[in-house]
């Protein structure tokens, strides 16, 4: 309930001081109050000799009889309210506390001489003491009411112990309990009475102030604006402004609230000692009761004002319920228990004022259950409602059985009810019929009271499933931030994921509904203290509880920024001890503190989010791999399409080409083209051997482009230098920083000449017929790869061949093949291998060349394409 949270910006509404939890104190107060209450209740039924006198604990000249236990010994002896007992058992007494030792000297049933003063006349009478019996039906009611208050307060504070408003509510409930159980109990002389009545009196003093305090804090700290004026309006009186400041800001306000009742009491008691008459109601001065009424009325007005001024319709409803219940509980009390005794001197109707006060805890209980007031639901459902339902159903069955038995007994004079079979039958019937009926009632209650809660649980479950099953990171991030923030009604929720080479946690996604802007959180390096701290703790870490001194500079900067962003809690997203991310949780939109249940939910979501992130990472990797496979397939197809399907048939010249790609798809290629007609009819044959920087599809595409450009230019002007200059410009424009090594050879089979230009390609090797060494053919002056620079003056070289010449056109994948020790194969080894196998047919020669390289590289991975074309003249 967003409206039911204190204002954290105010001192009263501020979250508790980190490291100084009030919980032990709250527990101590609760235990002490319970002890007093139990002492009070148990004492009512302890076996002691008692005269049935309810004394005024404050009388000092004898024991003034405040009340008489109906049918008690004193009443039977003729004593009356207002009489003063001067002595018991021939001992004179000044005050009630002196009576117990005297009573202890006697036993129940014994007649004891009392000296009594009535209207100035002193007389003796005999009082036959009876066993101690103070408990009455009204006291049972008061005790029940007190217990109800305590259970309510303890329950609420156990859910939200750090909420100041809840703490005040808890204390209020305890004071109500003490007031009912200790203050409104009939008292005897015994010390226990003194103890519990003093506690009850203290409760009476504190109760009104705490009541008012609570409604000044609840549901949010009340801010008075009666001295504010809009622009243009006349300014208010200075004293009004001062009053407003005092009411809104001064801590003295609450000090004053709490001080006034005891001060008033002390003043009255002091006045009484000096002869100033004072009237007591139930042992407390009238003025204190009037003050109590004033405080109660002010508290109600504060609540009414909250309801009236609240703009949130959803919030108004629970406040209205509380207002109506509290008014119905308080007003009769103020009228019958305060105004009647103080104004009309009539306290016979006190019970009429006290009985309706049960409406206060009942209303709060209803609001807690119905509107999730104080954010408590589950335990209510599991305990309170179940218990009530069980009691109701059991009672119903019992009633039915008793009625049935009565019916049977009237018609057949059966004694079923007193028969042992009744108990057995009753138990059996309950077992058989109880659960179905209870389930139906529970279902009804759930529908009425817990629909929102059930919806929330369902939504949370759905989201948890989605988080685990969602394999797309962006959607997962959205689920973990926006959806979670929406479900838990958070102002902001940042997901920090490791990015970059250093793996620093950066704001991967965030949800921000606060309207405060989306300034993200700074990066937090993986090695900083904070991520490790969060990972080690494995639970939500409250920023407020972090000791900055234990953090490094990086973490401190992050924490400072997070606090500015009103982040309250950090949660780890970790699996198998590995931190996958961080959740930075902002405040709730209601501005209330995150409850334990909220944190549990967040932790669950974080754990599932970590699993989701891990799964998404694996999925991404697999997808990438599959995409790469697909790309490689395409590239392979493209590349395959670039190689000639068959070797050209040029008279007097034989060819053989090989390409062994690295990483599945290579960037090398070779191809033949007929530049001016059929080579078999004497046309020139072009040979292109190329190598593109990079691999995969882009490389293949560039290779295609290079080939097509060369082809296109070669058709127009077969001069290799010209072709290269033109192709260089085109390739430069297509793709910068990706270049092509290309060699273009133009074979004139008739003239046995080879005209060529190089661009980054190694110079072909030549073995003349009968030669024992391989040599490089003459290289042109400009040999820069194509596409590296816009303008390169490639030149053309013509080399004349002779029959028997064997040429090896190759890419650098051959001579630069690397061994496992990273030693290059080298030009010399290539030349030697080429010479050694020069006499073999071209396919065998090709195999041998490759085999020699493989022998050299052994198991080392082939890191570059190995492509070559063999050409033999003659």
């Amino acid at each position: 309930m967003s409206v039911l949270a204190p204002d954290p910006s105010s001192p009263e509404g501020a979250a508790s001081v980190p490291g100084r939890s009030p919980r032990p104190l709250l527990v101590f107060i609760g235990v002490l109050a319970c002890l007093l209450a139990v002492l009070s209740v148990v004492d009512m039924f302890m076996p002691k000799a008692y005269d049935g006198v309810v004394p005024d604990p404050y009388s000092t000249a004898g024991i003034v009889i405040r009340d008489l236990v109906p049918g008690g010994a004193a009443e039977k002896a003729g004593l009356r309210t207002g009489d003063t007992v001067l002595g018991i058992g021939h001992r004179m007494l000044n005050k009630a506390a002196e009576a117990p030792p005297e009573l202890r000297r006697h036993r129940a049933g014994e007649s004891v001489d009392y000296l009594v003063s009535r209207g100035g006349e002193v007389f003796e009478t005999k009082v036959a003491l009876t066993p101690f019996r103070l408990g009455s039906a009204s006291y049972f009611y008061f005790a029940f009411l007190g217990l109800l208050f305590f259970v309510l307060g303890a329950f609420v504070v156990s859910r939200r112990p750090d909420d100041p408003a809840v703490q005040v509510f808890y204390v209020l409930c305890i004071l109500f309990m003490l007031f009912f159980i200790c203050r409104l109990r009939p008292s005897s002389y015994y010390w226990i009475d003194y103890v519990v009545q003093v506690a009850g009196t203290l409760a009476l003093f504190l109760l009104p102030a705490v009541f008012l305090h609570f409604f000044l804090l609840f549901p949010a700290k009340k801010t008075f604006r009666f001295a504010e004026r809009a622009a243009g309006e006349a300014p208010t009186a200075p004293w009004l402004g001062a009053l407003q400041r005092f009411l809104n800001r001064s801590p003295l306000l609450f000090t004053l609230l709490y001080t006034l009742p005891p001060v008033l009491y002390v003043l009255q008691m002091a006045g009484a000692r000096h002869g100033v008459t004072r009237r007591l109601i139930y042992g407390a001065p009238t003025l204190n009761w009037i003050l109590l009424a004033d405080y109660l009325i002010l508290g109600l007005l504060a609540l009414a004002h909250t309801w009236w001024t609240s703009e949130d319709r959803a919030a108004r409803r629970p406040i209205l319920v509380l207002l109506l219940g509290t008014v119905a509980g308080i007003v009769p009390f103020v009228v019958f228990a305060v105004f009647f005794p103080s104004l009309f001197r009539e306290d016979r109707y006190l019970a009429w004022g006290v009985v309706p006060m049960a409406l206060i805890p009942l209303t709060f209980a209803y609001a807690i259950v119905r509107f999730r007031l104080f954010d408590v639901e589950v335990i209510v459902r599991k305990s309170l409602v179940y218990a009530i339902l069980t009691a109701v159903v059991t009672g119903f069955y019992a009633l039915c059985l008793v009625a049935g038995n009565a019916l049977v007994s009237t018609v057949s004079s059966s004694t079923l009810f007193s028969s042992p079979a009744f108990a057995f039958g009753f138990g059996l019937v309950v077992v058989l019929l109880f659960d179905p009926l209870r389930r139906r009632m529970q279902s009804f209650v759930d529908r009425v009271f817990f629909r929102d809660r059930a919806d929330f649980q369902r939504a949370l479950l759905d989201m948890s499933r989605s988080v685990v099953s969602q394999l797309e990171r962006p959607k997962l991030r959205t689920l973990l931030t926006s959806r979670t923030a929406e479900l838990l009604r958070l102002e902001s929720l940042d997901l920090l994921l490791p990015r970059g080479e250093d793996g620093a946690f950066t704001d991967g996604a965030y949800a921000d509904v606060s309207g405060g802007g989306g300034a993200g959180l700074p990066a937090l390096s993986m090695g900083a203290v904070l991520p490790r701290l969060v990972l080690e703790r494995g639970v939500p870490v409250r920023l407020a509880e972090l000791d900055d001194r234990t953090l490094d500079a990086d973490s401190r900067a992050f924490v400072a920024a997070a606090r500015r962003r009103l982040v309250t809690v950090l949660l780890p997203l970790a699996t198998h001890g590995k931190l996958l991310g961080l959740l930075a949780v902002g405040r709730k939109r209601s501005e209330e503190e995150l409850s334990r249940e909220d944190l549990d939910h967040l932790l669950t979501i974080a754990n599932q989010g970590a699993l989701g992130l891990e799964a998404a990472g694996l999925h991404e990797e697999l997808t990438k791999r599959a995409e790469m496979e697909r790309d490689l397939d395409i590239a392979r197809e493209i590349q395959t399409s670039l190689f000639p399907r068959e070797l050209p048939r040029v008279p007097g010249v034989s060819f053989f080409g090989v390409s062994r790609p690295a990483r599945v798809v290579g960037g090398d290629f070779y191809d033949f083209l007929e530049v001016d007609g059929d080579v078999r009819a004497g046309g020139r044959l072009g040979l292109v051997v190329g190598d593109v920087s990079g691999k995969s599809i882009p490389a293949s595409l560039l290779m295609v482009a290079a080939k097509e450009i060369v082809y296109a230019r070669a058709m127009a002007d077969p001069d290799p230098g010209v072709v290269f200059r033109e192709a260089n410009r085109r390739l430069y424009d297509i793709k910068r920083r990706m270049f092509v090594s290309l060699a273009y050879f133009l074979l004139d089979s008739k003239a046995l000449s080879l005209t060529y230009a190089f661009g980054g390609q190694p110079t072909p090797l030549l073995v003349r017929a009968g030669a024992s060494a391989a040599v490089e053919i003459p290289a042109p002056a400009n040999r820069l790869p194509l596409g590296a620079f816009r303008e390169v003056p490639y030149d053309t070289v013509t080399f004349y061949l002779a029959p028997g010449d064997l040429l090896l056109f190759y890419t650098d994948g051959l001579n630069e093949a690397m061994s496992a020790e990273m030693a290059p194969y080298g030009d010399e080894r290539l030349k030697a291998s080429f010479v050694r196998h020069a006499r073999r047919p071209l396919p065998e020669l090709a195999d041998e060349l490759l085999e020699d390289i493989r022998q050299f590289t052994q198991e080392a991975e082939q890191y570059d394409d190995q492509t070559f074309v063999l050409m033999r003249i003659g």
């Binding site: 527990v27 007494l93 007389f123």
Partner: protein
Amino acid sequence: MALMPLSSRRSLRRLLIALVVTGLAVAGTAGAFFMRARRDVTTTSEKAWRAYHEAAENDLKMYEREAISGYAAALQEDPHFVMATLRLADKMRGRDPDRAKSLVASAARYRDEITERERLVLRIYEERWGRRDMAVLGQLFDEYVERFPDDPEGYRLRANHLSTVNRNADAIAEYERLLTVNPNYATAYNTLGYYWAERGDYAKAEDFLKRYRYLAPDQANPFDSLGELYARVGRYDEAEENLHKALAIKEDFFASYGHLGSVELGRGHPEKAAAYFRKAADAAAGPWARADFRFLVVLMLCDAGKVEEARKEFDDMAAEARAFPPGSEANTMALHTLFRRAVFLARTGDAAGADAALEALQKAAPMEGDPEKLKGYAGDLAYLRGFVAAMAGRFAEGAESLGKALSEDGPSGLGGTEYYSRRDIARILLAHCLSRLGRKEEAEKALQPILARNPRYQPALDELARIQG
């Protein structure tokens, strides 16, 4: 500490520490309280302490015998028990002054082993039986009350002292303070009852005396005091009931016989009164009380018209007085006898004899001494002079003397027992003189104080009837 459930160890540890600290504080306070309660006297014996407290309780109720035996029993258990020694000395003071002094001296030997409070009590007792300097005693009492305001004994001692120095109003206030500290001081109720009876507030007096009776229901004195009060206000049946109860408790309680005599006197039965006064005289513990009652017998016999019998009674009484051992008390007794003789002679019509006795009394009047005593003596003579004059038929002189004596006679001290009030006698004689002088209205007015207090006082009613013809 992100979340600390209420049942966490840390929380429980703090709670346990808080509970232990609270428990220790409570236990310490209770221990200190009980130790303090036990530390009011110094003794090593539990039995002695119990006997002492029992005796002190009896002391409060004026159960003298039980108190004395209790203190003695305490001393038997612990011979060095200083407070028991001092209390016993106090009780023995009237009976055996020498033993009382020796007890105080023996207590003084343990001065260094006792508490401050006991030392102060010892100093008080030493002063009372030593130098008896009233100023010093007053200071000691003030110091005691100031230092030990919760001890009722201090208020009792100071009240006694104040009455001794005639600061009666202060003494009464002190008694009232004493009762706020401890409402079980029987003597205080008795004193307050007599005090208010003396001042005419009989309701208040009855209240206090009823409390006294309630506190000591097995003592004769409370019933006697209340009976006396009822007799004084004309509630004769209640007076008789209480006085008979007193006699049922203590059959030789002479005061109750005396007050029964007063009842009969008030009823106008002098013969019956004489019989009770005689019983009182027979039961009286000492010669002074016996002489008083015998003289009352004489007066009642005179009123009953048995003059010869009265004369014989008077002669016997005088002879007994003459047999008093020589000394200051014998002289005082002789003076009292002379006073009574004057009354008797006047009552029997021997005016000359009465005048002679009066003259002898005037000559014997002390000239110096305690001013209060001198004043009392002068008052007695004034009454006697009026009485003698009225009996001799010198009504004007009688009216003047009696009027003056009554006007100068205010409430006396803290009040005391009266069997036959001289003020009542004086008022009746004054009325008689005035009526004989023809001042009937004044005569009736003179009787009014008696009849206002006791409308059934027969001698006054008889005189009123005479006045009214």
